[in-house]
């Protein structure tokens, strides 16, 4: 029997060329009973190896190659790698702590190393191999001969103990290696150490050697043709079968036998991790459960006033279940974070299934009353689930979220809390870029290739790498290009490097660094663990998601501006829920900037839904999701609501469950309740179904559930037609649907943002602009929309603007002043210095400005002048942009006495004022938008001559009319649910309009759609009117012909969405 005890995966980041899953599967095929994954300086791949091993029915040993400084071996100029295996949990904890210790000192990513003393300190429970060509034995032998190698081995014995050092032998048909093996055998015999055969596996099969070579090039920043001896000598570091290994070490049977013996000694696996969630500190004599009960009840009295029997019963049920499952500490920890947010004035709102819990509502974690809204608590927590509940907290993105993250670090210590990692893997673009580099493909070709990889969610069946290569004119039959394509294919989904997750944090009782190694993130003050969120979940580490939501930041910005400029105070928690302005706006799809309701799909859905109540908003946020769309729920929902179709239910017993959604299944909870009612699913089975719906590989898991559902429905005598409908609906929920509670949480934010937009447009627009990048639309679209609603937008002005956009009074009207953040290249620190200097005394002119604000660099002054921000410095109001440009050009350049006689301001400057078009081009170049007329307004005469109508005119034509129009492309979208249709949103000086590009037309105009900023369209007008509500209709153009409009110099920034 042979066990491979020294393997490396791609989680050694550019050193291994295989995935843990591939290793696990191959071990199963080769009947290798166990495998030890020893990635470089970490256990990054261990959870995936653990799961893969489970699936393959093998054992996954845990270990790592730990880099040591050269000081252990005098004369060796490079670090050496100690292959360490965790024999016991103590050993694993030591390994994690050791790696954390030296990683925390790292100044450059991947450059950290340990010291001999640290290794000695953490040696308990670890077994050390003498290593392959990068191991300590090879290094000692290479630089000091056999005597040095012996001394090095003795040193290892002194650190780890004689039982815990194995002399490693590898055979890759290499002369030098055999020399090393002979020396190793000699030393092993003299020191009476066991020998151990390994293959130093770097890839699963020989074919992956090419990936290993390419990774070597990337690591050393070389190309294949110049990497020389850095590349491997042959392709022998693949996973060999036990028979091959036995033959290879036929002369040393002990080396093979010892692998099984050592494998038996290695008792530790990740099954036995020893992770504990932190216990919430309570005062002496108190208990966590009692504290939770007290706080919940106190909160409930604030939330509900007098507790109705229903509420009291629900709270009692939840509290006793929480107590039974021992989760009180978890709730208190989340409550503690929310309390911190409240103290600091930071918006925080629980999202997801937590909104189903009355305890969460009472503790102030969520904003939805689950009792009043009849939400299903079991969706959040049940005995059957056997897993931790998931509470995600939405926070304003940016500084506020960072404050909360730092609070968690302070609370649990830097070794007790960490962000979860985000493993950056190779995607088409990055693969094409990096593989191209090593294969000497020219940079511009790689750039062009990267551009053809669309980021659309929908992919044609022939949207393959090959097609992309062909699209840029590469001949994929050519051997070099073929190899290029193959390499790109091979590395897709391989890990490239480690990032940090946007909000997931794990905390631990005691030291988290004993559970998983931690390392500093690139961002200052952040610590990240070596596993991503899926790995953490698989290893049952509790994660709290502190998610940054741009809209919360925008709302916070808005709420800060309202009292100052409107002299009013708005309490988001107590907004009137039936504001007519909000519903009127939503009914006519006037929702740009409104959270979750502004997307193209929502804008076409809202007039048909015609929302009149808050719950309609909840329906709206829940409806435009892949699950309900693929389940064909939208059309019946609209028809039934409009009275065009009778409300019916798949079965009469479902009326109670589906009544409020007109008989269709919109939310996850409804799907589960349907299964329980019509197919007799137990709570546990429903939970299984929920997992299948949310799991990545849900198709596999869903099959038996659907089978079971059919069986149950047959038993309950549901007719086959209804069965099919129900199964189809449930099946489509694989495509992701919202839990109702989540839709409620988002509905609240959506309504609040709509309210702010309708009542405080100036403040809301400023809030949105100051929270960018966020949302569906670019600042350009947001500004044009606000202007259409009557908001006056003032230009950037050094005498008035701040870094952020601000509000001003102009003739009793509140207007928006653009901030310096929209000046390209201008740094925040320079802008703030300018504002500070201005507060001392207003600038007397450009020379005064440049003298007093030393932080302003020449390349910052130029864009300020170009966008007209310096014009107001001239009291006579004669300065124009070019005058200002002329003046600022001389600052920042050393001048001598030669120029002494040149006055600061040259009124005879011959530079002409910018024309309208020049101003437009400059505005787009500097800020990405203009507050003046839309670009197409300047070309209207040409467009009229070309018979291209305005979008406003087009929208008022009859359905079915053939129309010809043109506009700026503001959004490009190819949703996964739309079967290959591309949706474009065109924008001109009069309006917006959607254009539907069907797959055949897209194929014809693919390059044009992907590249053009301004498009002309011929097509048929589609108009869907709301049958009940006259005047509410959705308009789009079904494109039959597209053509480019020549407007080359304007830099527009269309947004691509899935």
């Amino acid at each position: 029997m042979y066990v491979e005890l020294h393997a490396r995966s791609a989680f050694s980041f550019l050193e291994g060329a295989t995935l843990p899953e591939q290793l696990g599967q191959r071990c199963g095929e080769l009947e290798i009973p166990a495998l030890a994954l020893l990635d470089r300086d970490g256990v990054y791949g261990s959870p995936r190896m653990h799961l893969a091993a489970k699936q393959a029915g093998i054992k996954a040993h845990v270990g790592a190659e730990v880099t040591l400084a050269n000081s252990l071996l005098k004369g060796i100029k490079r670090g050496v790698r100690y292959p360490l295996l965790a024999e016991t949990r103590t050993g694993y904890q030591n390994l994690c702590r050791l790696i954390t210790r030296y990683k925390s000192r790292e100044t450059n990513k991947g450059q950290g190393f340990s010291s001999p003393d640290e290794v000695r300190e953490h040696a308990e429970g670890l077994i050390c191999l003498t290593g392959g060509e990068e191991g300590p034995f090879a290094a000692a032998l290479e630089y000091g001969g056999i005597q040095q190698a012996r001394r090095e081995t003795e040193k290892l014995v002194s650190i780890f103990g004689p039982r815990n050092v194995y002399v490693e032998l590898q055979r890759h048909f290499n002369r030098n290696e055999e020399y090393r093996n002979r020396a190793a055998l000699q030393i092993a015999a003299s020191l009476k150490l066991p020998i151990l055969a390994t293959n130093g596996v770097c890839y699963t099969n020989r074919e992956q050697r090419a990936i290993a070579d390419v990774f070597t090039c990337l690591r050393y920043k070389r190309r294949l043709d110049s990497a020389g001896k850095l590349l491997s000598r042959n392709s022998e570091r693949y996973l060999r079968s036990p028979a091959e290994m036995a033959k290879l070490f036929g002369d040393l049977p002990d080396a093979i036998a010892n692998t099984a013996e050592l494998s038996n000694r290695l008792q530790f696996t990740l099954e036995n991790l020893g992770y504990e969630f932190p216990k919430y500190p309570v005062e002496h004599g108190d208990t966590i459960q009692a504290l939770l009960r007290r706080e919940t009840m106190a909160g409930a009295r604030v939330r509900y006033g007098t507790l109705s029997p229903k509420v009291a019963a629900q709270l009692e049920t939840e509290l006793s279940l929480i107590g039974e499952l021992g989760l009180a500490g978890y709730f208190l920890i989340v409550w503690d974070i929310v309390r911190f947010c409240n103290r600091e004035g930071i918006f925080a709102q629980g999202r997801g299934s937590a909104a189903n819990s009355a305890v969460c509502y009472s503790l102030g974690i969520t904003a939805v009353d689950p009792v009043g809204q009849k939400l299903l608590f079991e969706r959040f927590l049940s005995k059957e689930r056997g897993e931790w509940p998931d509470i995600d907290i939405d926070l304003p993105s940016g500084d506020d979220r960072e404050k909360v993250i730092q609070y968690v670090y302070r609370r649990y210590g830097s070794n007790g809390a960490a962000m979860t990692a985000n493993v950056i893997t190779y995607r088409c673009k990055s693969a094409a870029r990096e593989m191209g580099k090593v294969l000497c493909i020219s940079d511009d070709m790689i750039d062009r290739l990267s551009h053809v990889f669309t980021s659309f969610e929908w992919k044609d069946p022939d949207d393959t790498l090959e097609r992309s290569f062909r699209d840029v004119g590469l001949d994929i039959l050519h051997p070099l290009i073929r190899r290029y394509v193959n390499l790109c294919w091979s590395v897709l989904d391989y890990p490239r490097h480690l990032g940090q997750h946007s909000g997931g944090m794990v905390v631990s009782q005691g030291q988290l660094s004993s559970v998983v190694p931690l390392e500093p993130a690139t961002m200052e003050g952040r610590v990240v663990c070596q596993w991503d969120k899926d790995d953490c979940a698989a290893m049952e580490l509790i994660k709290i998601d502190l998610l940054g939501l741009g809209m919360l930041k925008a709302m916070k910005n808005t709420l800060e501006l309202i009292p100052v400029h409107y002299k009013e105070k708005v309490d988001i928690a107590h907004l009137p829920q039936d504001d007519p302005k909000v519903f009127a706006a939503l009914q006519k799809a006037d929702a740009i900037g409104i959270f979750q309701l502004e997307s193209r799909a929502q804008l076409s859905f809202l007039p048909r839904l015609f929302p009149k109540t808050f719950y309609d908003i909840v329906i709206s946020t829940g409806s435009i999701r892949p699950g309900p769309i693929q389940g064909a729920m939208i059309s019946p929902l609209i028809k039934r609501r409009q009275g065009l179709e009778l409300i019916s239910y798949p079965h009469p017993i479902l009326e109670d469950v589906l009544g409020r959604t007109y008989g269709v299944i919109l939310f996850q909870e409804q799907a589960l309740q349907v299964l329980m009612k019509v197919a007799g699913f137990t709570g546990a089975e429903a939970e299984q179904a929920r997992r299948a719906m949310t799991h990545k590989r849900s198709r596999e898991l869903m099959e038996p559930i659907l089978k079971r559902a059919r069986e149950g429905m047959r038993q309950n005598r549901i007719d086959p037609e209804s069965q099919d409908k129900i199964v189809h609906c449930i099946d489509s929920f694989l495509g992701y649907a919202f839990p109702e509670s989540h839709a409620y949480s988002f509905g609240h934010i959506a309504y609040a943002s709509g309210y702010l937009k309708c009542h405080y447009l100036a403040a809301f627009t400023a809030g949105l602009l100051n929270a960018q990048p966020m949302g569906f639309y670019s600042p350009s679209v947001l500004i044009k929309d606000a202007q259409r609603h009557g908001l006056q937008v003032k230009p950037i002005d050094v005498t008035r603007s701040d870094w952020d956009c601000t509000l001003e009074k102009d003739k009793e009207e509140i207007v928006l002043r653009l901030g310096f953040r929209y000046v390209r290249k201008l740094r925040e620190q320079s802008a703030k210095a300018l504002v500070a200097a201005r507060q001392v005394a207003m600038f007397e002119g450009i020379p005064d400005l440049t003298r007093r604000v030393r932080e302003l660099r020449r390349d910052e002054l130029q864009p300020l002048a170009a966008c007209g921000a310096l014009n107001p410095l001239d009291h006579k109001n004669q300065l124009h942009r070019r005058d200002a440009l002329w003046q600022v050009a001389k600052y920042g350049r050393p001048t001598g006495s030669l120029f002494n006689d040149i006055p600061d301001y040259d009124p005879t400057s011959i530079l002409l004022r910018m024309s309208d078009i020049e101003r437009l081009i400059t505005d787009h170049h500097i800020s990405g938008f203009t507050i003046g007329p839309h670009a197409l307004a300047y070309r209207r005469e040409d467009l009229n001559r070309m018979n291209l109508s305005t979008l406003h005119h087009v929208k008022h034509r009859k359905a079915g009319d053939r129309v010809q129009t043109a506009g700026e492309v503001t959004v490009k979208q190819r949703p996964g649910t739309a079967k290959g249709i591309v949706f474009l949103t065109l924008h001109d000086e009069t309006d917006f309009c959607d254009v539907v590009v069907k797959p055949a037309i897209y194929d014809q105009y693919r390059a044009l759609v992907n590249k053009s900023k301004f498009l002309g369209v011929h097509g048929k007008l589609q108009k869907v009117e709301n049958a009940k509500e006259h005047g509410a209709y959705v308009v789009s153009i079904n494109a039959s012909h597209l053509f480019p409009l020549d407007f080359p110099k304007i830099e527009t920034r269309p947004r691509h969405f899935h």
Binding site: L141, S226, S232, V472, L474, L911
Partner: protein, 502 residues
């Protein structure tokens, strides 16, 4: 002063069309690069209208119906030479500025060739006869003449700087930053740039801005540096009867070399490059024309050190002729020596003794003559695992000693003598163990062997290799023994003996 600037627009395309005018009407895309990444570098109007853009790949150009033609350096050199020759017909002071730009000083040529405009027109028409369409700019300085040639079609005589005022700034190739600033100022033409106040401009754009403005104002910035003619010494002789013996030819060569070296000595110059050209007298068949290389023999001798040593030069030529004998008897001999300044080397008092470089060069030439040119020199190992990866560099003992890799403590101590090329062999194997070896007509039993060693690599190109090696000791049937490195090429399944161990 008066200068004419000859600019050949669309140079690469014109080079092609001059040679193959029938292509003009077709959509042609000139391509260049390394296969498979051949890219369009120029295209004619017909191709552009069809959708060809510079930078497209060959396949993309083909897809829109253009005919891709590989750019030819030879054609471009030819058209450039024609233009240069034409320019030199009018003036001895010519600056060969770039492949598509030639400047000539035409001051004082009126009596010989007419007015400046007439000269420019004549240049245009004589090149047009060669199917080359050029723009010629005439001005009082070479920069303005060049701007005019690049900015206007046909012949343009610039009498006043205002004439170039309408041309775009891009013609001056400003830096990206300067271009952006000027664009923001709305300064798009040379006229507008010229009108700016010089001091104020210098204050803003620095010296680079002033340079641009000077050019825009029709002032000279770059000096005119006429090409110096290469000093060459040429001697020829026609023989009364054809010579086919080296000894006889050496007599002729010696006398020509004597004359050349005499002139070199007079000018205190030396030569390190001699072109020799022989008119041959090959057997002819009536009515059959022979290719040029059958009637003319051309070689160039290059030496590392310039010399006027007649004997040394003669010996080198003799050795070269021995290695590369002419195909027919010689009728006429012409020698052309490129003259350069002699090199004087100060030898260090404590420098290690080394052979006289001249003698060493002669010895190396002799060896090359005996063994073949590519068989003499110093090994330079390449940075790759590929077996036998080395190049033969020129033998330079001082340099070679620096390149010996430092020995490591455990590196092999046995010397391997490689056979060049490796010897074909037959290896009898059983379970990867070599049993018998046959090569060079000898057969022997393998009495000892090491494990097979595997090496493979360069999978990304045509140099891909994969081989299995053994170190073996063989007892031959004739009683001799030897230790060899043998290998099996896994791609061709052929066996070889790579070398023997000392």
């Amino acid at each position: 002063m008066l200068f004419a600037s000859i600019f050949i627009p669309d140079f690469s395309l014109q080079a092609l069309f001059a040679k193959r005018p029938e292509l003009k009407a077709k959509p042609i895309a000139l391509i260049d690069g390394t296969p498979p990444l051949l890219r369009v570098v120029a295209a004619n109007d017909t191709a552009m209208k069809a959708g060809v853009e510079v930078g497209l790949l060959k396949t993309q150009a083909e897809a829109v119906g253009a005919e891709p033609i590989l750019r030819s350096a030879d054609l471009e050199d030819a058209i450039h030479d024609v233009a240069l020759t034409c320019a030199r017909q009018y003036s001895p002071r010519v600056q060969d500025k770039s492949v598509d730009l030639i400047i000539l000083d035409i001051d004082g040529l009126k009596i010989l060739f007419g007015t400046a405009e007439e000269i420019a027109n004549n240049i245009c028409s004589s090149l047009a006869q060669e199917r080359i369409c050029v723009n010629v700019g005439v001005a009082s300085n070479p920069d303005t003449a060049t701007i005019a040639a690049k900015g206007f079609r046909g012949v343009t005589v610039i009498a006043h700087a205002k004439q170039i005022g309408s041309l775009l700034i891009a013609l001056l190739n400003p830096t990206e930053q300067a271009a952006e600033t000027l664009d923001l100022w709305g300064i798009t033409t040379l006229g507008k740039l010229a009108a700016l106040d010089a001091k104020a401009l210098s204050q803003r754009l620095g010296p680079a801005g002033l340079v641009l403005q000077k050019l825009a104002r029709g002032q000279q910035v770059n000096p005119f540096v006429p090409d110096e003619e290469q000093l060459e010494f040429c001697e020829k002789t026609e023989l009364e009867y054809s010579v086919d013996l080296l000894d006889s030819l050496s007599f002729v060569l010696a006398s020509l070399l004597e004359r050349i070296c005499g002139k070199l000595d007079e000018y205190v110059l030396a030569t390190n490059e001699i072109d020799y050209e022989f008119a041959l007298d090959p057997p002819r068949v009536a009515g059959e024309s022979l290719p040029e290389d059958h009637v003319v023999y051309r070689r160039t001798l290059k030496l590392s050190n310039p010399t006027t040593d007649r004997k040394r030069l003669l010996r080198h030529i003799q050795l070269d002729l021995q290695s590369h004998p002419p195909a027919a008897p010689i009728m006429a001999v012409s020698l052309r020596a490129h003259a350069i300044r002699p090199r004087h080397t100060q030898l260090g008092l404590f420098a290690p003794q080394s052979p006289d470089p001249d003698k060493l060069e002669l010895i190396t030439a002799r060896l090359a003559n005996l063994a073949g040119e590519d068989q003499v020199g110093s090994f330079e190992l390449l940075d790759t695992h590929r077996p036998r990866a080395f190049v033969m560099a020129k033998f330079e003992p001082d340099k070679a000693s620096d390149q010996i890799p430092p020995a490591r403590g455990w590196s092999a101590k046995v010397a391997l003598r490689l056979f060049e090329p490796a010897k074909r062999a037959t290896i009898r194997l059983r379970s990867d163990i070599p049993l018998q070896l046959t090569f060079d007509g000898k057969r022997g039993e393998v009495i000892e062997h090491s494990s097979p060693w595997l090496s493979s690599g360069e999978w990304w190109n045509e140099m891909v290799y994969s081989r299995k090696e053994w170190d073996v000791e063989v007892q031959f049937n004739d009683g001799t023994r030897g230790k060899f490195l043998i290998f099996l090429d896994l791609r061709t399944n052929q066996s070889f003996v790579d070398g023997s161990y000392d």
